[in-house]
């Protein structure tokens, strides 16, 4: 068992944060020229790039909904994003996270404004360091806004876990491996 002390006696975590500190965040928009909207986020050591296409025609056509837009999300981790090479084929985890992200973004987007159309969100993790789905959701919402999609609000997300009976926010990779309980929360204002 890894004996790393997650919270030292001063209440600091492995990277020097206190239990409710976030890592540094940097978001850049318009990083991809050919996408309708794009954003890249650096969330601590996470590096994620998001592309948004649409609203555009739905292919295959039978997927289109008559009353609202289809939102399609793809969360993918690059083979070089982790310590050991990750198989580029979509894993069960990635398929699940894609669904979670879609469900996190759907309420924020005014899908009913674009009936019979589709919005595609591609989230590519270039470097993973725990909480990449939360960073991905934040970046995706910014990319959607950059694409000019009607939205009720931007979406923010943060992971939380329990270390030594203390609730810790924004878990990094080291904590992620050792944590006893884990939860992700997604926020919008409205």
């Amino acid at each position: 068992m890894d004996q790393t002390i997650l919270i030292d006696k001063n209440g600091k975590r492995t990277d020097g944060r206190s239990i409710d500190d976030l890592r540094d965040v940097k978001i850049t928009i318009g990083v991809l020229k050919n996408a309708d909207g794009s954003a890249s986020i650096e969330f601590g050591k996470n590096k994620i790039i998001v592309a948004v296409y649409g609203p555009r025609e739905v292919h295959p056509k039978h997927m289109a909904l008559p009353d609202r837009c289809v939102l399609r999300c793809r969360y993918h981790m690059s083979p070089f994003s982790t310590d050991t090479r990750k198989n580029p084929a979509p894993s069960r985890r990635e398929v699940e996270i894609s669904k979670v992200m879609r469900e996190a973004l759907e309420p924020a987007i005014m899908l009913e404004d674009y009936p019979r159309a589709a919005i595609d969100v591609f989230v590519e993790v270039l470097q993973a360091d725990g909480g990449s789905r939360c960073a991905g959701i934040a970046a995706a919402s910014v990319a959607l806004a950059d694409a000019g999609v009607n939205m009720r609000d931007l979406v923010a997300a943060c992971a939380a876990g329990k270390v030594n009976d203390k609730i810790v926010l924004d878990i990094n990779d080291i904590e992620d491996r050792r944590i006893s309980r884990y939860a992700r929360c997604i926020f919008t204002k409205s």
Partner: protein, 275 residues
């Protein structure tokens, strides 16, 4: 009601609290007006709106668009109008009512790859947009250079009563056809003029949200002496109108499209030129 001067907003930003009317790209929640797009918030007599800075083209009825023929069925052409829906141009519109799929060869009139200027006659949430080219200045585009810009920049490119586009056209000796969907076709006598017009259009697209844009474009085009002409149109109105009528008929039609659009230029967007 002039509490908010122009202000940049992102989705979810509260623009103002109070009993105002939401106009465009805003929603009303409880007593708050909230932006739904990245853009510039503006208040007018009618209510609050956000002028978007990005976004794809969403068709609207009566918009003049430039589209590319993609395919044809036996009764209609499929036209790519740079939107999330492909538009349809019925064959009767071109051949007249006695069109017969057996007799008339649709590919001879409009082949895949041709560009057309068209007006959207019907569009709603349930069906794809329908086009018409049976109007003055509409129809197949024979020649010109093709350019795509964001459709949100189109009102800015046209300018107040077409001032911006006229400036560019006069300085570069070109004619610029504008579709509300952000597709442009530039024709001109010489390649230098066209290249310069492209540069000016790109400048407008990149800096559409900045103020004093007309001056920047004029600096680029070196038209210091023409500033007075376009801005105080009255002194040379006869001369200018003559030029416009003879060479800019297509441009007028595309400006007409602007009348029905979002009108980024709040002051009298009506095209006043007699044609």
């Amino acid at each position: 009601m002039l509490e908010i001067k122009k202000r940049y907003v992102v989705p979810g930003d509260v623009i103002i609290e109070g009993n105002y009317r939401p106009l465009m790209n805003v929603i009303k929640k409880d007593n708050f007006i909230i932006a739904t797009r990245i853009g510039i918030a503006e208040s007018s007599k009618d209510g609050i709106k956000v002028i978007p800075l990005s976004g794809v083209y969403i068709p609207r009825i009566n918009d003049i668009v430039i589209g590319k023929i993609v395919d044809n069925s036996s009764l209609s052409w499929e036209v790519d109008i740079n939107a999330c829906f492909s538009a349809h141009l019925p064959a009767q519109d071109v051949f007249g009512r006695d069109f017969s799929p057996a007799k008339d060869d649709m590919k001879k009139r409009l082949a895949p790859g041709d560009l057309v200027t068209a007006r959207i006659i019907t569009f709603d949430r349930t069906r794809d947009p329908m086009l018409t080219i049976q109007e003055k200045d509409l129809g197949k585009i024979s020649n010109g250079e093709f350019l795509k810009i964001s459709s949100t920049r189109v009102p800015r490119l046209i300018g107040k009563r077409g001032s911006m586009i006229q400036t560019i056209e006069q300085a570069t000796q070109t004619r610029i056809l504008i579709g509300q969907n952000g597709i442009l076709v530039v024709t001109g006598k010489n390649d230098e003029g066209i290249a310069l017009a492209f540069k000016a259009i790109k400048l407008v697209e990149e800096e559409a949200h900045t103020s004093n844009l007309t001056q920047k474009v004029k600096d680029l085009l070196n038209v210091s002496e023409e500033i007075t002409q376009t801005e105080t149109n009255n002194s040379s109105v006869n001369n200018e109108d003559y030029v416009n009528n003879s060479s800019n008929t297509d441009n007028n039609s595309s400006n007409m499209g602007n009348d029905h659009s979002s009108n980024i230029n709040t002051e009298s967007p009506k095209e006043a030129q007699p044609n």
